[in-house]
């Protein structure tokens, strides 16, 4: 199968996940390279979010092996897993911020849990992270319910990068944002990926994001990864869903805008 590389940062082999009798993944293989932004696309119900959950260990697969940063996610002892978990950050679809904490406290939460920092340093660093994702100064003291959808996503991103992880998993970061907000979020991901040296695992529906920031794209279909490669590679894949996705009118519009403003 194409797209497997040496020394990947995430390596998934033969993944099988099942809900009751419904099989979501059946023998899925995927490699993610260090320092890339990989976009995972697929129709509704193809298990994009399930794959993300399986990789970060929130969901127990029926079979298969998942290695992140060279260590198996499932079979490591709890202590190792805790250490491993510190090296990645996850942003859920709507930010999944803790509603009883302010934005600043949300970003501080992983630091409080994982590191021994004095309060001053923690507050300073949390402030830096919040400003890094482009939130205004007064958002620090706000509760999640007082923020707009786009701001909640940004705050969720700030919490995901709170510990300077090596990998961030983003679940549909641009879903539900207006085109301007979505484009700004794309740029933000690109900037922080470069500045912090992140590897980004991006589950998305957004064709513009794929064209604008993804180094590679993995297409989920038929319960496995159907194709991996650059967006240009995807145009040549001969599969009905992939063709429809990458040659549809929206894809052409996204391609045109990506070429118009490189």
């Amino acid at each position: 199968m194409a797209g497997l590389v040496d020394d990947p940062i995430i390596r998934v082999r033969g993944l099988v996940t099942r809900f009751g009798t419904h099989t979501v993944h059946d023998g899925l293989d995927l490699d993610v390279r260090r320092g890339e932004i990989i976009g995972v696309v697929g129709g509704s119900g193809t298990g994009k979010s399930v794959l993300l959950r399986a990789i970060v260990g929130l969901l127990k697969p029926v079979a298969g092996r998942i290695e992140v940063l060279g260590e198996s996610v499932r079979d490591t002892p709890e202590e190792e897993y805790r250490r491993l978990r510190r090296r990645w950050g996850v942003m859920f679809q709507d930010g999944a911020l803790f509603s009883s904490l302010t934005v600043r406290q949300n970003v501080e939460a992983p630091m409080r849990e994982q590191l021994q920092l004095d309060q001053d340093l923690r507050e300073t660093l949390a402030g830096i992270k919040v400003r890094m994702v482009g939130l205004p100064e007064n958002a620090l003291a706000n509760y999640p319910s007082e923020l707009s959808g786009g701001m909640r996503k940004r705050a969720g991103f700030a919490r995901a990068i709170a510990l300077d992880p090596e990998i961030v998993f983003l679940d549909e970061p641009t879903a539900g944002l207006d085109p301007i907000g979505a484009a700004a979020f794309d740029i933000l991901i690109r900037q922080l990926q470069a500045a912090l040296g992140l590897t980004v695992f991006l589950v998305t529906h957004d064709l513009d994001s794929l064209y604008a920031i993804c180094d590679r794209v993995a297409v989920l279909a038929d319960k496995r990864v159907l194709a991996v490669g650059t967006v240009q590679d995807m145009l040549k894949v001969d599969h009905p869903w992939v063709r429809e996705y990458f040659h549809g009118p929206r894809a052409r519009a996204a391609m045109a805008s990506a070429e118009g403003a490189p």
Binding site: L117, L121, L125, L163, E166, Q191
Partner: protein, 376 residues
């Protein structure tokens, strides 16, 4: 590089003429362990911070460097950062642009005036809520009156469904609770009355307290905890998912569809539940009297019939619909106040239960006074 995230690796700071040389691993754990005051001491008087020896740096490390540079530069000397790789320079740049803006106001201490103001706001909020609740009561009663004029507007299916939910399904718990209350009363009453040889008065004690007060009051409290909270949670989650707004846009009145069937169901079923509680409380008392005092069921029955005025039962039953109205109105009102977040749902559900139990007890006290005045 990433493997070295453990605590072993440390950053090294050395001075060479006017240069501060930073080498090693400057990540968040290392930064946390540094003595930052001593470091600033060391940095003062330098004109250059050389970081070409750094193997790894993260946001915290970058902040430390920027902070050091800014503080050391304060006295008219400008300190430059040199030797950063391209990636490091980019990170430092991003952090530099994300620093807290200078001169942010400190939150000031709370004074007595603030406390008084806070108290005043709470009072006003309470009064406003009382007014809102009253206006909601009026709205519901108005809608019910409209239904009396045009009965076709009543949602019969919904009403029957809620009758089953709040009434039939609550029968076991209410019956058991009242039975146990009867048992407790008989047991405790017997212990006291035996001292005077007046055991047989335990029948009057049980009959009056269960029929007049306890049966209906405890039933109302159970129903408030059971159904009042369910009303708030159900309507609140509909509000969160914008179902209530959707109803309004297609011309359906949430009060007619959601509130009236629930309140009516409670008003029909609470007297029924109260009646069941009365019966089962008496049965519990009779059983315990028989076991503990040897008062046979026949004696219990004849004493109950001859000595207990039927008005005791009437007083209990009159209160039931009022308690039902209170529980239903407060449950639905709090549900409609839920906002967009899950936290408000939980908070308002517990408010609804606490407030309705409190109001039930308060109205019960008012009824007591009223019945004492009219002399029943």
């Amino acid at each position: 590089m990433s493997a070295a995230q453990g605590s072993g690796a440390r950053a090294l700071f050395t001075r060479a003429q006017t240069r501060l040389i930073v080498a090693g691993n400057l990540h968040i754990n290392a930064v946390a362990k540094l003595d930052r005051a001593a470091l600033l001491e060391m940095a003062l008087g330098n004109t250059e911070i050389d970081i070409s020896g750094l193997t790894r740096i993260d946001t915290a490390g970058a902040w430390l460097l920027v902070d050091l540079q800014q503080q050391a530069s304060a006295d008219g000397i400008s300190v430059v950062l040199t030797g950063a790789s391209e990636a490091q320079a980019q990170l430092i740049d991003v952090v530099r642009h994300s620093l807290a803006p200078t001169g942010t106001a400190q939150p000031k201490a709370k004074t007595l005036v603030d406390q008084i103001e806070l108290f005043g706001r709470m009072v006003v909020r309470g009064l406003r809520k009382a007014a809102e609740l009253t206006s909601f009561l009026g709205q519901v009663v108005g809608t019910m009156a409209g239904i009396v004029i045009r009965p076709r507007r009543l949602r019969l299916t919904s009403l029957v469904h809620h009758c089953q939910e709040v009434g039939l399904n609550a029968v076991p718990i209410v019956a058991l609770m009242a039975f146990l209350i009867g048992v407790v009363l008989a047991f405790q009453g017997a212990a006291q009355l035996r001292q005077f040889g007046a055991e047989v008065f335990v029948v009057d004690l049980i009959a009056i307290s269960v029929l007049r007060e306890l049966g209906i009051l405890l039933t109302a409290i159970i129903v408030a905890g059971r159904s009042g909270s369910a009303f708030t949670a159900a309507i609140g989650s509909m509000k969160m998912r914008e179902e209530i707004d959707a109803m309004r846009t297609i011309g359906l009145d949430p009060v007619t569809i959601l509130v009236v069937p629930r309140v009516l169901a409670l008003m029909i079923m609470l007297p029924a539940l109260g009646f069941i509680a009365d019966i089962s409380g008496l049965v519990g008392g009779a059983v315990m009297s028989w076991i503990e005092l040897g008062v046979s069921p026949a004696v219990f029955q004849s004493r109950l019939v001859s000595n207990t005025d039927v008005w005791h039962f009437g007083v209990g039953m009159i209160k039931a619909p009022f308690f039902a109205l209170i529980i239903g109105i407060i449950g639905c009102f709090e549900g409609l106040k839920v906002g967009g977040d899950a936290e408000s749902l939980g908070r308002l559900t517990s408010t609804s239960v606490v407030l309705s139990i409190f109001m039930v007890i308060m109205v019960d006290a008012m009824f007591s006074i009223f019945f004492a005045i009219v002399g029943v």
